[in-house]
Symmetry: C2
Subunit: 727 residues, 2 copies
Amino acid sequence: MRRTLLALALLAAPAGAEEGMWMPSQIPSLAPRLRALGFRGDPAAFADLTGDPMGAIVSLGGCSASFVSPEGLVATNHHCVLSALQQSSTPERNLLEDGYLARTRTEEIWTGPLSRVYVTVSATDVTERISGKLSPRLSDLARQETIERRQKERLAACEKGGLRCRVASFFDGMLWLEIAQLEIRDVRLVYAPPAAVGNFGGETDNWMWPRHSGDFALLRAWVRPDGKPGPHARENVPYRPARWLHVSPEGASPGDFVLVAGYPGKTERLLTYAEVKAELEWAYPRTIRRYRDQLSILERIAKEDPERSIRVSTRIRGLANTMKNREGVLAGVARMAYLERKLAEEGALAAWIEAEPARRAAYGGALPGLDALQAKVARTRERDASFQALHAYQSLLASARTIVRLAEEREKRDIDRDLEYQERNWIRIREAQERLQRSVDLGADRALLKYAVLEAAALPAGQRIDPLDRLAGLAPGMPAGEAARKVDAWLDGVYAGTRLDDRTYRLSLLELRARNLSREKDPLLEVARALAPMDERLRAEEKARAGARSRLAPPYARAAIEKAGGLVSPDANSTLRVTFGTVEGLSPRDGLVYAPQTRLAGILGKHRPGDPEFAVPADVLAAIRAEEARRDGRLRDPALGDVPVNFLSTLDITGGNSGSAVLDGRGRLCGLAFDGLYESVVADFAFVEEARTIAVDSRYLLWTLSEVAKAHHLLEEMGIEPSRAAR
Amino acid sequence: MRRTLLALALLAAPAGAEEGMWMPSQIPSLAPRLRALGFRGDPAAFADLTGDPMGAIVSLGGCSASFVSPEGLVATNHHCVLSALQQSSTPERNLLEDGYLARTRTEEIWTGPLSRVYVTVSATDVTERISGKLSPRLSDLARQETIERRQKERLAACEKGGLRCRVASFFDGMLWLEIAQLEIRDVRLVYAPPAAVGNFGGETDNWMWPRHSGDFALLRAWVRPDGKPGPHARENVPYRPARWLHVSPEGASPGDFVLVAGYPGKTERLLTYAEVKAELEWAYPRTIRRYRDQLSILERIAKEDPERSIRVSTRIRGLANTMKNREGVLAGVARMAYLERKLAEEGALAAWIEAEPARRAAYGGALPGLDALQAKVARTRERDASFQALHAYQSLLASARTIVRLAEEREKRDIDRDLEYQERNWIRIREAQERLQRSVDLGADRALLKYAVLEAAALPAGQRIDPLDRLAGLAPGMPAGEAARKVDAWLDGVYAGTRLDDRTYRLSLLELRARNLSREKDPLLEVARALAPMDERLRAEEKARAGARSRLAPPYARAAIEKAGGLVSPDANSTLRVTFGTVEGLSPRDGLVYAPQTRLAGILGKHRPGDPEFAVPADVLAAIRAEEARRDGRLRDPALGDVPVNFLSTLDITGGNSGSAVLDGRGRLCGLAFDGLYESVVADFAFVEEARTIAVDSRYLLWTLSEVAKAHHLLEEMGIEPSRAAR
């Protein structure tokens, strides 16, 4: 009842500023604001996920993208296809470095088993079915298990028709949506520029302005001859989407209305002060410190030889990117005195709740409860984080844990399995282990595991990882030198004996039943087995916490929204969202102005031969010089007198939005969002007026396809007459 | 004849862009351009050096300044009074750090024996007297000696009336002016802000934009009771200048006309390609490398204790400043491909000369001659530079050389002495040795001399400094380790024995006749004596080169000017110049814009407590916050909604212009120039459209005096009603 009332309130009030990663269903009520900013279409259309333009918006799982032709051509960012490029690269043919253009459909390169194109087809409110009628007598653990069981039941029902489904929580469990997606599994690379274009400026320019990145790439979705998704196969045909976007040869200019539809990953604007404080004062500095260390470990390895460099490059870029983001967030937090502000806001909310008995009754227990929960979490966070760090993403010990757990979970009925290990996920577990092969480097794996173990070795007496102590012969208070020697000796044995880096062996283990797997004595499997009981205990603790949060967080969110008295967008959760604003520069500091656009001439200005970040390839250089000599191209911005490269806008995006189509006031694709500004990454916690999105102008994409890649067949496919593209 | 013709041509053509550090006598012919830009006064007035406004413009010797009250108040930069502040600082009373305000005239602090205010009173063309009728049969050495003797004769005549004179060469000896100046020797500190205001942003912001420096200070010129200049004395009275500038409470705003009159030190726009190439490819990188090394030596020393830190701070700042400038020049040279451009221009000039027999006859030999001269210089430049480096500025070995040479030169008739050692300079030689005491640090002196000696130790066999080899026991090709040990052993002896760091002893040596001095066995004097014969030989070689240049450079300059066919400003030579332009921002790179002004709010934005470069003092912070809360001050820029701090303009200045009054279209002081942009320091070689001057807005000066220093007596003296200054 209360929820319905709030949902109504949520739709009634006017929008402020440009904040908001809106659910598509919220857009119709924002119509006046959209129109005022210059949108010429029908805002109501956004609620229809299969209509125009939302039907053209897709997810790649981690990145966003969109259909740009009736034959399944997909536009996204160059940095969203890095793994795909890495996947198909060899020391002789480096697609990362050189880029790629398929001149025919048969030349399109399958981007590997993990690549997906997800097309959202529906989103249904299932709040009552997930969190309704939960007995208050349930323990927190039982409560969470009930919620998860209900989710699994929903998923099973939803996926009967062959779709991929997800039950997603909004406003911290206040609202649950069941989202159904078409899952296209044969994704092929059509075009990627060389890294010197797609990642021009490298780490130096990452999160920065002025920017001159050609951060675009084209994929194609392929399906079975019957039009249904299926695994990669020779006989597959291009997918024919019901909706696709027209790529605009007019791009976006200062003051223009722009809109992004995509899949933002995570924001934390609705957390409590204590939760945010722990994030910013404990977790963020910890991540920065660890990633800096890990980067130096991997960079040393990358220097050794080119093959290893390809294997570790994606991880290096990922660590560096996250580290810079975290640093930017902390700088922003300090600059805006965010924690003080958040504390004051929370104080005001508490006072507002206290002010009326009805509110006190409905929301009074939420904040104290969440604070107590956070205090409890803090007590073991060093140990918990160290334990998880042992199983780092793409590490062989993580593989071992997956193998051991999968065998164990297989023994259960599907409905009793953990969500992650349900049968519906087996294929992607297998595919992830296949894909892992590209980045397996035994030396890097050992070095990073050693780093994590030494971290655990330094834990205080009350927070030890006991099984690890036993395995490596560690004890609290052991001098660092002694610990390092013990860990080295232990890992020497483990890595001399393990065969998990062998693709065939590793994949074969995924097929074994528990009994058969228990006969395998691979040292990394033994480590995973030794850690398993503790792993299970920590999972149960985590579930109990989630159960507690599912009691406490929804009323806290309700109170915050009710107090705000209006339309609020939920924190990002990797579901389809819409944000809108205008093309606009920024004065990041007194006396300094970021112009809203950059242009080809700026690429020449940054060109530094021999510099891996700023050397412009010869053909691009020649094309730009020819363009500058011409002074009359059709893709030029009249006010700029040049072809625009990147532009800034007031859109509210975050990680996951990468590759998102930027739509103009007429719904055409006028750009691809690919980054935020260092100065405003703090917006993940608190929206700031300075928030800006960096996008590639569609004119730079078209210019590159026309003048550098000479990809006239693709221009034609996108409905652009090639001869008129640039001139 | 030809010269007169050229001088006429020089006045006829219109000015291009804003390039030009014009001689005041050239300004009347630039009247149309001045008026077009917004100057409302009479351009002809600039030719009158004692009239308005030029009579108010003064030199401090190395910096520029101006009278801003009828009682001798002088406005200049904070960084121009650093030595004065250092001079009067002690570990207990750090004027550098804390600033100073004299609340009464008696509180004004004498800034020491070397401080001067020079007021230019006349500039007379003496070209014919200096370089006319020189026999072509003279050797280059004899030619130069004749030119120098003629200069000394002119100086002797000019200085009879008590003025200080200089015979200065323009256009590389094509024109000679005799410049007479009033030399005021009692200069006192009236007001300096704390370093945290005057040098806000420190080395990080130096040469940079956006800038928020309060780089201003006030001095006062004092004279004898009869109004004539004299040494510092109790009975002195404030000087009453005939002209002074009105400090404008309206500052300068975007688009406004601005003009700087001051004393730019040195530009090298009219050198030959070969000369410029040697500067940029040899001398500049060498300076950068050496200064970086020396900085790390001095910074280590500065860390040791605060007293030593004060002693070496000015030198550290000077080295860092020059190093950054050189780096900026080289970056600019690379960016604009300056050397290629210069080569092409010189080729065009050579072709133009060749194209007509009359030109060939007049100018044909100049460029080949200069090239041959440059080639000869290059042969021994490593040795020559290393030799000079032994006698670094403010080093004790330089003192020893001065002492030895002074005794030697004293024996001659004054007219036969080297210019530098003529009797007219004895007092400043003595004063320099007095002042040196403030920065004498035996450890630093030894470390820097060791650095220079080790440099000399590495010279190739053909270019050795033989007397040094004998002194330190060095030989060509000696391993670096062995050389270092020998040099250490030698310097241990020298520095254990020297007393030159003793002020009294050092000054007493300046009074000794050669015979008596020869009995002094101070080890540094012995070193100077051992080096003296080579020193003399190198001086003679240098004179011969100057003689050759005096033959070759004037026709080269004439050819260049004639080809340019118009009004050309001579390279800067520390004489009074005028440059004009407008207040204007800059786009230094595609996508980035430097706004033309900064403001108080930006100081808050940069404030970082505890950071020595960016911590804003508490009283300034409070005053800014009060100002921001008020929102109605009289010193605010209406468009900016705040008090402006610094502004950019298209003025063409260089080192030496620091402290220059920036005049508005009505001739009022609207700012003080204090820096150039890193992006455009290359303008010392080639004027670029991007050249910008950074100045303090007069409103920030007045605001600081009113709201922070509460110096109402000074505002009154400048004709600003204190109560109306800020509100």
